[in-house]
Amino acid sequence: MGKQTELTADKDNNALIQVQNLAKYFPVDDGRRRRVVAWVKAVDGISFAIQRGKTFGLVGESGCGKTTAGRTIIRLMEPTHGTVLFEGKDIHSLKGQELKAIRRDMQIIFQDPYSSLDPRVPIGKSISEGLQIHAIGTKRERRELVMEMLCKVGLEPYHAGRYPHQFSGGQRQRIGIARALALRPKFIVADEPVSALDVSVQSQVLNLLKDLQEEFDLTYLFIAHNMNVVEHVSDRVAVMYLGKIVELASREELFGRSLHPYTQALMSAIPIADPEVRRERIILSGDLPSALNPPCGCRFHTRCPIAVDHCSVEEPLLNEIEPEHHVACWLVN
């Protein structure tokens, strides 16, 4: 039997980010008066740590809470409860100058490069906006830094004066990356950074993210729904389902020997680009239940191919089944 790790999962001193029992609920009102009638538990108590210079992959289907988790972790949203430690500091208790200072260290890259850039602002200005807010350098130095950033992400300095609509999707994603990098952050949340891109461009952006990580010693939280992309970039991976982490392990462990039935189903559902490979597929029945009214007990039991009676009664905790391999399932121990 593994020991319980609900709160202390992955506790480590070398961690840049420590997420502890983080939860984010959204209120649902009754439509007429502002009376809260229910809560959508988008993220419901997740814990993990991200090591300096590493990539932590957060994977799951739409609506599982991975984007909310990413945004709460860098305090674009306030959590309902739980803490996030950045270099040991609780970022949700910071105020004023301290908060502003820490925001420099945490940046985000969004999924949709079309809607995340202001269409009426030349991209050079979008990139330098953060520098301006944090009063870094003179106007001239800022301009030079923008040029340098553009070169780093594979664009040309003369692109700075152009507007977003003049770029392709892949180029816009590079602009989004340059904008995030301009402040020289330590930590970047990459929220589905390649899922809006064409296949041939995806690999370019993934390689770029890897190169930049080495050059600037970046730590990534990489959020995606695509298992093969996550495997390619991540050092550690957590699989989310309806606001909870169901499995958390190193990349080798998770992709080599996944233990949770949901992880196994996710992997077997990925179409493999090789017609010679024939696998035993686990096809889940039904859709993702609503986070407004999640199933009781284990949230996955309604779709689980191996669920037993007990699964619908009591919720399994995330247990360390093997060193550094955490699973939340009654049938795995």
Partner: protein, 352 residues
């Protein structure tokens, strides 16, 4: 409801033949050559995959076959022959009869393809009422049994639901029920699973494959995902900038892809269980369809061209030539006309 029209002369002629189809969009910025000389043959009962990146013309090819193009798009030239009749010569009235009953189509966004103000049952029943003159009550009964067939639980209650009450996966099931209601001979599925989650995608792909096999429907499956092609299609056509660059049996395409673009696409996908430090890339991005390069459309991004230092790629466009059993490729590396011997890409060991 079985329609037996054409299955007798299966061997004689293909179900659908597209010859040199050109569909252009006449915009203010110039003529967009979205589809520019596409040839495509679909046999009875086969699943053919059409793969390519966004903007390569795969959806416009499908809409041209259905004759559903909107202004400013127009079919400029070419032939589309469906079961012996030329689709482009039909009147709009005849086309309406054909759509839904013999050729049907499903789209990427099931929620927005359904009518929000009618229940899904009514929308399925409509097929029987319009095409077969059935009465509403009988048509609704058939709709419910169809909902069962596409795997919607509690079908008689769900038939009364409206599209917004259904999840993406369920809405796509309803679309499939509508599309396959009258046992069409051809189903065009345009990115049917792109908007869905992976676990739901697997369900929908299985449903399309099983149902189409059972009612003998050929499928033109349009997707940008090679994984979907590998699992579903019998044959594949790879499209790029309005042209087909390579076509082959699915096995051959993955085992011995011959066009540098196809090779690049296959090699640039991260493979589960095979971690590499860097991914292979195709440099650059898809060309602007208004100002296409003179020679081969892929030449500006082609690494094989650079490696072999081929001048001709920038000057003249290669033809789609046969290089193996049903395997055709449009690339100068594989054309040896008039004594012009060009090295083959596959034996040079240059694939990374």
């Amino acid at each position: 409801m079985t329609q037996t029209g054409s299955s007798d002369h299966t061997a004689l002629q293909p179900l659908l033949q597209v010859k040199d189809l050109r569909t252009h969009f006449f915009t203010r910025d110039g003529v967009v050559q979205a589809v520019d000389g596409v040839d495509l043959t679909i046999q009875h009962n086969e699943i053919i995959g059409l793969v390519g990146e966004s903007g390569c013309g795969k959806s416009v090819t499908a809409l041209s076959i259905m004759r559903l193009l909107d202004h400013p798009g127009r079919i400029v030239s070419g032939e589309v022959t469906f079961d012996g009749t030329s689709i482009l010569d039909l009147s709009e009235r005849e086309m309406v009869d054909l759509r839904g009953s013999r050729i049907s189509m499903i789209f990427q966004q099931p929620q927005s393809s359904l009518n929000p103000i009618f229940s899904v049952g009514e929308q399925i029943a409509e097929m029987f009422q319009i095409h077969q003159g059935m009465h509403k009550a009988a048509a609704l009964d058939k709709a419910i049994s169809l909902l069962c067939e596409v795997g919607i639980p509690d079908a008689s209650t769900r038939a009364k639901s409206y599209p917004h009450q259904m999840s993406g996966g369920q809405a796509q099931r309803v679309m499939i029920a509508i599309a396959l209601a009258l046992n069409p001979e051809l189903l065009i599925a345009d990115e049917p699973t792109t908007a869905l989650d992976v676990t739901v995608q697997a369900q929908i792909l299985d449903l399309i494959r099983d149902l189409s096999r059972r009612i003998n429907t050929a499928v033109l499956l349009i997707t940008h995902e090679l994984g979907v092609i590998a699992e579903m299609a019998d044959r594949v056509a790879v499209m790029y900038a309005g042209r087909i660059l390579e076509t082959a049996h699915t096995k051959d395409l993955f085992a011995k892809s011959s066009h540098p673009y196809t090779q690049g696409l296959i090699n640039s996908i991260p493979v589960l269980g095979k971690v590499e430090k860097r991914l292979n890339v195709i440099p650059g991005s898809v060309p602007n369809l208004v100002e296409l390069p003179d020679g081969c459309r892929f030449a500006p991004r082609c690494q094989a061209r650079r490696e072999y230092d081929l001048e001709i790629c920038n000057e003249q466009e290669p033809d789609l030539v046969l290089i193996g059993n049903g395997h055709k490729v449009r690339c100068w590396l594989h054309q040896s006309s008039e004594g012009r011997q060009v090295p083959l890409a596959t034996d040079g060991g240059n694939e990374s």
